[in-house]
């Protein structure tokens, strides 16, 4: 017994040494492994499932949610011929554009404010924007329901102002949905703009003004071009997130607000038509790849994705 213990303790340092030795010798292997772990994860749990989707889109659905494994282009034909799906896509893109047009000026203004403000409250104000990322989207979306309803604060306020004579319908309408969407996506515009504006040297702007530029001109010709990368990152995120939104159309939108993400979910989970859901998913992914391609000719995608980091 005591012999055994003695021998293991004597061996242990040797073994650790040999492991270390091996690790040092296999340095090359270790390095190879390290970028590999993340890539493997993405490959196994995103790219591989995506190929399953591609395969599914080439089959058709049988009864009771089964899949008939005979290759067919039926799903693609159904999409091409189905004007209802064209409308869903067109509407999603339109909502993306409208939301971006709303988020851009407000988000830029707040980002600019945070980047320029010298108040000692600025860190707290910035923290309040970051916190928006932490609070689950489902909470930030449903929280609008009691505000926008007929008896909600929003209507109370309008009535009190005398703008309207009786409560307006805003909950379960496109307006309500866009409002909820715009607010939930706002941080994606504010933070990249903030992080760029805060690095712009104020002396450059002063120099422009000293040379006779008006505020507006100094902004247009100095601040705006310099903050452009942040704006581009914000636009990319705002557009993609709003066109593909799921929660806002489901919780705040009206019956006409059938956007692409909820439609895909319905086809998948309620109609149990997995092949057609796969086809719609691929169309949607193709759309996003197309947008990213157009985008990548104007800006660096990787940089834009990094833009949301503080």
């Amino acid at each position: 017994m005591s012999n055994e213990t003695a021998s293991t303790t004597a061996e242990a340092p040797n073994r650790i040494d040999s492991i270390r030795q091996r690790l040092m010798e296999s340095e090359r292997f270790g390095y190879l492994l390290s970028p590999g772990s993340g890539l493997l994860w993405v490959l196994l749990f995103l790219f591989l499932p995506m190929t399953v989707i591609v395969a599914f889109s080439l089959f058709r659905a049988g009864e009771f949610g089964t899949i008939i494994y005979e290759p067919t282009l039926e799903n693609y034909r159904r999409f091409v011929n189905g004007s209802v799906y064209h409308r869903v896509i067109a509407r999603s893109l339109l909502i993306g554009v409208v939301t971006t047009l709303i988020v851009l000026p407000f988000g830029y203004t707040l980002g600019y404010f945070l980047g320029r403000s010298k108040s000692r409250w600025t860190p707290i104000l910035l923290g309040l924007v970051v916190v928006q990322f932490w609070v689950p989207l489902v909470i930030r979306t449903y929280a609008w329901i009691p505000i926008l309803g007929r008896q909600g604060i929003f209507n109370d306020f309008l009535l009190w102002l005398g703008v309207v004579g009786q409560p307006v319908e805003i909950l379960y309408t496109t307006h309500g949905m866009i409002l909820g969407l715009a607010v939930s996506i706002m941080p994606f515009m504010v933070l990249p703009v903030y992080s760029i504006v805060s690095t712009i040297d104020e002396e450059i702007i002063q120099a422009a003004k000293t040379l006779g530029a008006s505020d507006a001109r100094a902004f247009r010709e100095v601040t705006l071009p310099l903050s452009w990368p942040g704006v581009v990152s914000g636009i990319l995120f705002t557009f993609i997130l709003s066109a593909g939104s799921y929660l806002a159309p489901q919780l705040l939108g009206g019956t006409n607000d059938r956007l692409i993400a909820p439609v895909i979910e319905t086809v998948f989970s309620q109609d149990f038509n997995w092949p057609f859901a796969a086809t719609l998913s691929l169309v949607y992914v193709a759309m996003i790849v197309g947008i990213l391609y157009l985008f990548s000719r104007k800006a660096d995608i990787e940089e834009a994705l990094e833009g949301t980091q503080l």
Binding site: R20, M24, L32, S34, P35, G36, S37, G38, L39, W41, V42, F45, L46, F47, P49, V52, I53, G107, T109, L110, F113, L114, L128, V129, F133, W134, V135, P136, L137, V138, I139, Y142, A143, I145, P146, I147, Q151, I153, V183, M186, K209, S214, D215, I240, Y246, L247, Q250, L251, A261, I264, F268, S269, A278, S281, V285, I288, E302, L305, E306, Q309
Partner: protein, 273 residues
């Protein structure tokens, strides 16, 4: 002071006031909904008005009697912690590889690594569900952990990588010149320098996992329902004030956990510098 200069200053002030006004408006829209949720969780009425007429803790009492809610909070917490550890570890390893090792197609591969940020969550959800069904796996809590790790990974990677870019590699050379081997160097020099970023990455991964709904709705089961799924289904069916209690508790968790995490991170930074 010339009149021209004076006018220009007034203009500047007016612009600044406008900017502050718009900023205040944006803050109002971001914060008011959250305040309403918290206040309504104490409202004495079933259909809450704002401001409420009368306060009560009844909903909290009912909430803590409901096993489904407590189980959802417990599942989300477990999954969040597991995803934070996995995404933190894998993200760190991957970032080390990307920063230190030259290999071909680095740019393309790093974009591949960031794709979980861009692929719409509905599709991530459907693709994984189809895949797991096809290989014959039953959905369980491990799916949630694996998939939440996938969704958090790009963020963890980006955070650790940007820290590694700032890291002075000559410190490692110095340690190894002084006789430390690679493991000791990693433990004594590299890890403490990168630790704050790893903590940030883990905190963010926890928060992403805890709040994810759109993709997760496909992966949950009755026994492994997560908090966002419970909130969604409650809002879709019956709005009971208990949903406000759950949301309030989640608000506290998702705000307090990161703040504590970032406090630890700050402490780590102060200790290394």
């Amino acid at each position: 002071m010339s009149i021209r200069k004076y006018v220009s200053d007034v203009e500047t002030n007016w612009n600044w006031h406008g900017i502050r006004l718009i900023s205040a408006l944006v803050y109002l829209t971001m914060i008011l909904p959250l305040i309403v949720v918290v206040v309504n969780s104490f409202s004495a009425q079933r259909i809450a008005t704002f401001p409420p007429r009368g306060l009560t803790l009844d909903w909290y009492v009912e909430f803590f009697r409901d096993d489904m809610f407590l189980s959802a909070v417990w599942v989300s917490t477990q999954v969040g912690i597991a995803a934070a550890i996995l995404a933190g570890a894998i993200g760190t390893l991957t970032a080390m590889g990307f920063v230190r090792k030259p290999f071909p197609m680095k740019k393309a591969l790093s974009i591949a690594l960031l794709t979980p940020m861009i692929v719409p969550p509905v599709i991530v959800g459907i693709a994984a569900t189809s895949f797991f069904a096809e290989i014959g796996l039953d959905r369980n809590i491990w799916w949630l952990i694996v998939m939440h790790t996938l969704l958090a990974l790009p963020y963890a990677f980006l955070i650790v990588r940007s820290r590694l870019y700032l890291f002075d590699e000559t410190l490692e050379d110095a340690a190894m010149t002084l006789g430390a081997d690679r493991l000791v160097t990693f433990r004594e020099i590299t890890l403490p320098q990168v630790a704050p970023a790893i903590v940030t990455a883990m905190v963010l991964s926890f928060v992403i996992s805890f709040g994810e709904f759109t993709a997760s709705q496909f992966w949950v089961q009755r026994e492994t329902t997560t908090v966002p799924v419970v909130i969604y289904s409650m809002v879709r069916t019956t709005i009971t004030p208990k949903v406000n209690v759950l949301a309030t508790l989640v608000l506290v968790i998702t705000i307090v956990v990161p703040i504590v995490g970032l406090a630890i991170q700050r402490w780590l930074t102060n200790n290394t510098n």
